[in-house]
Symmetry: T
Subunit: 69 residues, 12 copies
Amino acid sequence: MKDPVYKLIELTGTSTTSIEDAVDKAIKRAHETVKNLCWFQVVETRGNINKGKVEHWQVTIKVGFTVEG
Amino acid sequence: MKDPVYKLIELTGTSTTSIEDAVDKAIKRAHETVKNLCWFQVVETRGNINKGKVEHWQVTIKVGFTVEG
Amino acid sequence: MKDPVYKLIELTGTSTTSIEDAVDKAIKRAHETVKNLCWFQVVETRGNINKGKVEHWQVTIKVGFTVEG
Amino acid sequence: MKDPVYKLIELTGTSTTSIEDAVDKAIKRAHETVKNLCWFQVVETRGNINKGKVEHWQVTIKVGFTVEG
Amino acid sequence: MKDPVYKLIELTGTSTTSIEDAVDKAIKRAHETVKNLCWFQVVETRGNINKGKVEHWQVTIKVGFTVEG
Amino acid sequence: MKDPVYKLIELTGTSTTSIEDAVDKAIKRAHETVKNLCWFQVVETRGNINKGKVEHWQVTIKVGFTVEG
Amino acid sequence: MKDPVYKLIELTGTSTTSIEDAVDKAIKRAHETVKNLCWFQVVETRGNINKGKVEHWQVTIKVGFTVEG
Amino acid sequence: MKDPVYKLIELTGTSTTSIEDAVDKAIKRAHETVKNLCWFQVVETRGNINKGKVEHWQVTIKVGFTVEG
Amino acid sequence: MKDPVYKLIELTGTSTTSIEDAVDKAIKRAHETVKNLCWFQVVETRGNINKGKVEHWQVTIKVGFTVEG
Amino acid sequence: MKDPVYKLIELTGTSTTSIEDAVDKAIKRAHETVKNLCWFQVVETRGNINKGKVEHWQVTIKVGFTVEG
Amino acid sequence: MKDPVYKLIELTGTSTTSIEDAVDKAIKRAHETVKNLCWFQVVETRGNINKGKVEHWQVTIKVGFTVEG
Amino acid sequence: MKDPVYKLIELTGTSTTSIEDAVDKAIKRAHETVKNLCWFQVVETRGNINKGKVEHWQVTIKVGFTVEG
């Protein structure tokens, strides 16, 4: 595959513990249906708050993977 | 589903009448194939012009929905 | 007041009907506590979706008002 | 005209009623002097406030039209 | 409260340990005076350096909360 | 189809020769599975380098196509 | 105060003479009610025009100050 | 003129002395052909350098003026 | 002309062959009516697609030229 | 040094564990050759993926340090 | 080198013929002093005009390379 | 030097008096080690505050200079 073509999809992972964990969960979920994930980039970091504490970190990422030729 | 993962897709809805109607039409169309739509955000508002009048409002949105675990 | 100073606050108005109504509601609410509102600018337009329809338009605006000298 | 060239101009339309009406008024005015308007894109949405109500919606758009060859 | 209005404030939390901890501290502090915090979004991540090590993570967030009607 | 709805997907095409060729390859690949592609916009232009020469141009585009009603 | 929390507010200062003077006036006014101002950043520089001359420079800044623990 | 329409043009003023002077010169020049200038906003501030000193400040502004009905 | 003033106009050039050719065509067309063009900057690169191939590259540029004193 | 001048350099740190660790590694490496590092700001957060897991967090930062007079 | 650190530098390459050639020339020049260049990203595309034709394409890129441990 | 290559570096100049003076000081300092500085562009304008007054204007600029062939 000399000149690969990649597709990018956008996902929001969530976690009660950390930004990294939210990203991991989004990638893990994407990996269930797309096997050749290559890279990601963080698009936005937000979260919801409950009683003065972060309830869920919500991290939106773009994930790129090779499209089979 | 303690830590949900969301997917975002990008759509352009069009309407001869209003921005809101263009958004409604894009969401209505997405709902035909994806049932659990959660939120949207407007990315861009444009339109084409015919004889000095707006012919179609073209509103691009991102729509987020939960990915089944 | 030769050289006025303005303060800007950021609000999100919501509405089940339109973008304009969401902005109106945010400004109406701000006017209850700040009387000299001068201008606004739209920062972001989003919304939540329920059963394939927009439930609430959520429009974030910055509102500027004169600070008494 | 195989390879058309377009010019873009920037206008701010105003309206006491809606964003769409402000855009319509800017395009209608441009159409008085430029006949071949093709498309527009919204650049910014603002407004001025009087006594806690939106007095004028001010919507800045770019309008593209074909330049005669 | 059918059509809630939210206010957004901007805070910079700091921490010697992590980005998450800096966000937590900003939200915890805001919660002392505003009880109904709903969500946050990260605006900027910076820090100061001392002797080649991060001394403080400085994370700027916007925090949204409901305005009582 | 009076008020069409479009979907946008994001792709990265690659080429050893030029930006245009990278875009062509991404569109050609998308056309294999989606027939009614309408327009594209360039999002980012990057590349990898090997021994002081560009090895692959990597051009990320958004491609819009009509969604069947 | 090991891990300080800062709040940022947004102000528009105006001046008939210069950008620096507009910033000075906004900060001076903020200092009347908030004593521990730490830094500012310029967000936007605009102005109004009367008879072909700048009447007022309007400089919008964000000002950060420490929140008492 | 109940609902005015404005046009925005983009100009780069230059000056050997200051940013304000560069803006003044651009507005003064525009005023020679357009009488009803209303406002401006700074888009970019650059300059060229000669022998380690700023030779010309180059300030790009957008200027808005009312379009006669 | 010690302190020149420049005007910037925005054009979209189109070409069936390349980005450079689209820019060349826009500049060539502008040169027919404005003689003292100085520089350009690319604002956006898009295109329309027909049968899985780029039909027209559409490159939007800003072109700066000196305004006669 | 009454009016210090700072230089900013851009670095990408990488880590298999966390965003903070990637930043720490970039700063640690810069500290080997530049002793007076003062602050950093995160520019971009990305990473590469191997078998459905983040292999390396890649965090790009700008680092500022004082330039000796 | 398990966790590499990269440095990014910013260059403007110029060419009388094409965007690609301008990028190639910037990278070729950087390669004379830095051997392990890895990737680049296009930051801005501009050019100067002489007698209605592009004289030089000026393409600004960021180039990343590994910093020896 | 038919097709020059430029390098851009990023500096923050500081001044107790004005934005222009902060830029001048950064350029003057850069000129001590790099002789062929060509142009600059302002990236950010900030400052620190002491007792309700601007203590230092901090202006970040990119400076471009020709790289010897």
